[in-house]
């Protein structure tokens, strides 16, 4: 049953009528993002994203593993997303629905296939050992636009994450603990994000960052994945009514603007966290010394 309850006729009609007058339920304009906050937890790679009422947590983790036989020089990077009843009562635990597969596929294409994370830099010893980086997306509140919110979370997480340092000595791999050696940031080649648009009224109305009810009332969705430089790495229109090709052209410009806006929000959050850690690190050292004195 992994489906939200259907909209009533009243809701569907009203959302469309309002959009024709350029009015959205939360008072936003068509190309306006909901308020976005990105924050980080104590561990490296723990990100919380709040996009309007949609919220999620991403955790990045690393593990030493054997590289795939056909790519001995490459590390491994996986994105895992599982929708649970936490995000929406309509989702059933332990059962994969269409939405889950769809979101996972788009995230894979936007981030993994565009080589946002340089997997070659994850190689430790050719054909023997490499780093496996895993991004776990936990949807905690679903109110539309899972894809864009997840992209933001994963990209922020990859930039925030630090893996343990590892060296090869006499053919042996030695992994140092986070407290033994300064952990290493991941090698990010570019910062792609997705921007999702929904169309209404035979494609005449196009809005971005749709909330859940707007998504349900829409005719079709268009997803554009691109980075700050404007390189488009993903473009899709999977189902629903036809969309004029011109929409892709005009909305790519809007998407680029949004990607820049979102990336600057992520950058600011990263810098604020870095500053906090620098301060906290000093305090930590002082406390450790105090403990030693007392002990």
């Amino acid at each position: 049953m992994n489906k939200e309850a259907p909209l009533s006729v009243v809701e569907r009609d009203f959302i469309l009528d309002a959009l024709r007058e350029n009015v959205r339920l939360d008072g936003r304009s068509a190309d306006q993002l909901r308020s976005l906050t990105v924050s980080f937890g104590e561990e490296y790679g723990h990100v919380k994203v709040q996009l309007g009422k949609t919220s999620l947590i991403v955790r990045i983790s690393s593990e030493v593993a054997k590289p795939h036989d056909d790519r001995p020089f490459d590390g491994i990077f996986n994105i895992s997303i599982e929708l649970t009843a936490m995000g929406s009562p309509a989702w059933e635990n332990g059962r994969q629905g269409d939405l889950e597969a769809y979101v996972a596929n788009v995230l894979d294409r936007v981030i993994r296939h565009s080589n946002a994370l340089d997997t070659e830099s994850l190689c430790i010893l050719k054909g023997v050992s490499c780093w496996t980086i895993r991004a776990d997306v936990h949807i905690t509140d679903y109110d539309g636009n899972l894809i864009d919110a997840s992209c933001i979370g994963i990209m922020a997480g990859l930039q925030h994450f630090r893996r343990p340092d590892a060296v090869v000595k006499d053919g042996q791999v030695i992994v140092y603990g986070l407290d033994e050696r300064v952990p290493v940031p991941l090698n990010i080649t570019h910062k792609p994000l997705s921007v999702t648009f929904h169309t209404f009224d035979e494609g005449k109305v196009v809005i971005l960052d749709a909330a859940r009810k707007e998504e349900q009332a829409s005719e079709a969705d268009v997803i554009i994945g691109l980075n700050n430089a404007g390189d488009v790495c993903y473009l899709s229109k999977f189902s629903g009514s036809p969309v004029d090709a011109l929409v892709f052209v005009t909305k790519t410009t809007v998407a680029l603007e949004k990607v820049k806006e979102i990336n600057s929000i992520i950058d600011k959050a990263l810098q604020a966290d870095l500053a906090k850690r620098a301060k906290g690190g000093l305090a930590e050292q002082a406390r450790a010394e105090n403990d030693r004195l007392i002990g």
Binding site: P6, S8, V9, V10, E11, A18, E21, V23, L25
Partner: protein, 277 residues
């Protein structure tokens, strides 16, 4: 009124908090159950029954009705109770019934095809999946697994009482918490001259005053956390006014705003939406 008593599951209701009217039977509301307690000294107290909370919440007593209950968490899921007004959505119809959704991920409730004011086989409303209704919960049945039944008439009079029961056309529905829905029902059924309004809500009065010039609005609040709003009298401002009302109600619910902030919010939202007041 003494300071509110908060109970957690397993806590006993202190005897001095119970309504003191001994002649009428005590009505037990939600969140409480009667337990007989093994009493070590049977001679000391005549009654060995005790009222115990099953939910966390504020103990609420009504001396007039001789009732006692626990006010539930305002975000809890709606559980149908006879007499409640709800905004229901038709899912499909069968020979005798409309099968309606009251809360998502719950079994459908039944509404008789003839349970409308003046409905006969020929004049009954033709409703389809997705249509909305304002209805009253008639019964929830006894025992496990029985179906919830709805009605759009008062079975005693055959009239749609209170007014407004029946299909809801036009307008928009907004989702609010069940706690907010209960407060809105109290606030919309009685008008108060108090500064703080009824149940801590001044938003309806405030919106009523400010939207009067624009043509006013109609509202139907369902205990199931849905509120239907219609401003079709406002003509060209209808959509904006409806969105404004929805934003006010959901924001107050989400942020638990006090009367002063409610007034500020109404002014701000109406200005945002460019509605003359």
């Amino acid at each position: 009124m003494s300071s509110p008593l908060i109970l957690l599951p397993g806590d006993d209701v202190p005897a001095d908090y119970l309504p003191s009217n001994a002649s009428a039977p005590l009505r037990l509301g939600t969140g409480l159950r009667l337990l007989s307690q093994p009493n070590p000294t049977p001679a000391s107290t005549p009654s060995n029954h005790v009222l115990t909370a099953t939910q966390a919440g504020i103990l609420s007593t009504d001396n007039r009705r001789n009732a006692v209950s626990i006010l539930p968490s305002s975000n809890r899921r709606y559980i149908p109770t006879p007499g409640d007004l709800v905004v229901a959505q038709v899912h499909h119809s069968s020979a005798d019934y409309f099968h309606c959704m009251i809360t998502p991920q719950s079994p459908h409730a039944l509404l008789g095809q003839l349970s409308f004011e003046g409905a006969t086989k020929k004049t009954r409303p033709m409703l389809r999946g997705g249509d909305l209704l304002y209805a009253r919960v008639l019964s929830t049945g006894l025992g496990a697994g029985t179906e919830v039944e709805l009605t759009c008439v008062n079975p005693a009079t055959g009239k749609a009482e209170p007014g407004g029961l029946g299909p809801l056309n036009g307008g928009m529905v907004f989702d609010i918490s069940t706690g907010m829905a209960a407060r809105l029902i109290r606030a919309s059924s009685s008008s108060s001259d108090q500064e703080d309004g009824v149940a801590g809500l001044v938003v309806l009065d405030e919106l009523g005053k400010k939207l009067e010039k624009a043509g006013g609005f109609e509202i139907a609040v369902g205990r199931n956390g849905k509120v239907w709003v219609d401003c079709s009298n406002s003509e060209e401002d209808a959509v904006k006014a409806t969105v404004a009302i929805g934003r006010c109600l959901t924001t107050i619910d989400e942020h638990n705003l006090n009367p002063t902030d409610q007034r500020k919010l109404v002014t701000k939202v109406l200005r945002d939406m460019k509605i003359e007041s």
